[in-house]
């Protein structure tokens, strides 16, 4: 095995383990920490796939900023007391069946699917660099980029509208 392959398999194993810990952990703070680990592993995958800019952004935005928001939310909710499980056995079984079927279908598809091949001779290693990404983003995908600012604006207005304390509100 080549070094890249070894790194790939190790990273994948850690990613899967930490991702399943996110779901199974009892303590929500542990879940968040496991999620951060998952993001770091994904960053490793990005680097392996030559998407360096995405790797950096993943660390800054996801593992950094968004995880802070997750922690904030956990602090908002009082999750100290163990709530009894609200799900019945039937819903759990159904969820397992549906998730399992999805997994089986996915695995089957990915085993049989043909992915467009790549030619090492002509492969451009600079494809994932900031420079090439910028050229694509600001030339081909100009319209979605500009309209993404409308999305930001909606999010901003919504956050202010829902989150701002009005004069009559409770004050903690």
């Amino acid at each position: 095995m080549k070094a890249t392959e070894i790194i790939f398999y190790v990273l994948t194993a850690i990613t899967l383990l930490s991702a399943s810990f996110v779901v199974t952990a009892r303590n929500p703070v542990h879940s968040v920490l496991a999620l951060i680990l998952t993001f770091f592993c994904l960053t490793g995958h990005y680097v392996l796939m030559n998407a360096q800019f995405l790797a950096a952004v993943n660390i800054i935005v996801y593992a950094g900023a968004i995880m802070v928001l997750f922690l904030f939310t956990i602090m908002f909710l009082n999750l100290q007391k163990e709530d009894e499980e609200s799900k019945t056995t039937l819903t759990k079984m159904a969820a397992v069946v549906v998730g399992g079927v999805l997994l089986v279908v996915m695995v089957a598809v990915f085993r049989a699917a043909s992915v467009a091949p790549y030619d090492p001779a002509t492969y451009n290693t600079r494809v994932g660099l900031v420079e090439s990404l910028g050229m694509v983003l600001y030339k081909d995908y100009l319209l979605p980029f500009e309209l993404a600012s409308v999305l930001f604006l909606v999010a901003m207005v919504g956050a202010v509208m829902l989150g701002k304390r009005e004069p009559g509100d409770r004050h903690f």
């Binding site: 699917a113 992915v115 995908y141 100009l142 319209l143 309209l147 207005v157």
Partner: protein, 463 residues
């Protein structure tokens, strides 16, 4: 293209108008902006344009769908006079978000690239999450917003994964590239394509609340402020079906044999789930939520039986459904205000008892919209159903047709419960004061429903 730019700018203008001392200017400004966008859209009539390197396709179909969206938005804004008087409401923000959400809807209607679809869906959904929770002091509204947000982002995740798989198979996000990939693959496209299409479909079917992805609908529609429920059940549905039509008819028409079975099964399930559950509801608002699920089912017939007639049938049905739904919610808004139980507006059927005695106009408007939703002749809803059903006949889908007709019969039962309550039950409903403009909008919608019901050809000539 022009309406999208205009609405983005107008949204910001409205936001800043909110800083003025008087709120009275907001409503006319919002209405004016929507009208300008409507007019600007028709500048591109009969010219088919591809904008910004195959990102956005504006043709007559897209303009018609956008017009329905803009008309729905216009009516919703016109009925929103109450916000200006409510101290707690923030009308400038509401209107701005409504305008921004129309930008998202228009992206979904005219997209030519899957990225545009995704950004459009996100703009529309995020706006809807916010508006659902806009009644901050109402616990039900908060719960509805949270539920909608969690489920909605999950569905968006599915859609995004599907798009990634499509890209993996095709190597492009453009709809026509996907089409030519399928045509060049000699009937053996990569399995990733099928999986990707399925996942994108699941995401979109969630947004239009088709069964089995409809569980969020009743709670969200009931918890959201009534006007925003009207907006959600019309604009989101119209845009969602326009997006599905675009995706299926442009990209995937070559593998119709693969997806029509799935879509037909979902159609049948949606019709059953929507109509049969609606029968058991005691709240009018909740019944309207289930009714919107069942109408998603009827619209899905047009997609499952994709053909020549589907386009015009879907446009016509969306228009008929939007007109009837918004006027029904408009009446509910007035009636529910009259009776309050535990400080909450009464939205049950009994609130409508004896409405016709003192408010014959309101009763008539609601009756017409119920008849149109039920698909009774001489209303627009009848011709909408007729066109969709004949599309199904063209494809030889007789069993779906039989099911749909049966379910329409069930629909008549629950729609007529309101009509019976209004005309044949005793009630103490006093005279309800209605603002002249409000009244005008209701009458206009009713008139349009009846005109389209008598001369549907009027509309087909435009197509």
């Amino acid at each position: 293209m022009l309406p999208i730019i205009l609405l983005s700018v107008f949204g910001i203008v409205l936001l800043f108008l909110g800083f003025l001392k008087t709120r009275a200017v907001l409503l006319p400004a919002a209405l004016l902006f929507i009208l300008i966008a409507l007019g600007a859209g028709f500048l591109e009539w009969n010219k088919s344009y591809l904008y910004f390197g195959d990102m956005l396709l504006i043709n007559n179909l897209a303009i018609l769908f956008s017009t329905i969206v803009l008309i729905s938005a216009f009516m919703v804004v016109a009925l929103s006079g109450d916000f200006l008087e409510d101290e707690m409401a923030q009308p400038a923000e509401y209107y701005a978000i409504l305008l921004f959400s129309i930008v998202g809807a228009m992206m979904m209607i005219g997209y030519e690239n899957l990225i545009m679809l995704f950004v459009g869906v996100e703009i529309l959904s995020v706006s809807m999450y916010i508006l659902t929770g806009s009644d901050k002091r109402n616990l039900r509204s908060n719960e509805a917003a949270l539920k909608y947000f969690l489920m909605g982002s999950f569905a968006t995740g599915f859609m995004l994964f599907g798009m990634a798989l499509l890209y993996g198979a095709v190597g492009s996000f453009t709809l026509t590239d996907i089409k030519s990939y399928i045509l060049l693959s000699h009937g053996r496209p990569s399995l990733l394509l099928y999986m990707g299409e399925l996942l994108v479909l699941i995401g979109m079917l969630f947004k239009v609340s088709a069964a089995p992805f409809h569980f969020w609908t009743p709670d969200v529609y009931e918890g959201a402020p009534t006007l925003f429920t009207a907006f959600m059940s019309t604009v989101v549905k119209t845009a969602g079906f326009a997006a599905l039509l675009q995706l299926l008819s442009v990209s995937f028409s070559a593998i119709y044999g693969f997806w029509w079975v799935i879509l037909a099964a979902i159609t049948a399930l949606t019709l059953l789930a929507g109509n049969l559950t609606a029968v058991y509801q005691n709240s009018f608002k909740r019944m309207m939520a289930y009714s919107s699920i069942s109408h998603a089912g009827y619209l899905l017939i047009g997609l499952a039986a994709l053909g020549q007639q589907s386009r015009s049938a879907l446009v016509f049905y969306s228009l008929a459904y939007s007109l009837a739904t918004i006027s029904a919610f408009g009446i509910l808004l007035l009636v529910a205000k009259q009776h309050t139980t535990d400080g909450r507006p009464d939205e049950s059927y009994s609130a409508f008892n004896g409405l016709s005695r003192n408010n014959p106009l309101l009763a008539f408007v609601l009756a017409v919209s119920m008849l149109s939703l039920a698909g009774i002749p001489l209303t627009a809803g009848f011709w909408g159903k007729f066109m969709l059903f004949s599309a199904a006949v063209d494809r030889g889908m007789v069993w779906i047709l039989i099911l749909a007709v049966l379910m329409s019969a069930v629909g008549i039962y629950y729609y007529f419960r309101v009509v019976i309550a209004m005309y044949f039950r005793e009630g103490q409903a006093g005279r309800i004061r209605v603002a002249p403009f409000y009244q005008f909008i209701l009458i206009a919608a009713t008139a349009l429903t009846i005109i389209l019901g008598i001369v549907p050809g009027l509309f087909q000539n435009i197509m």
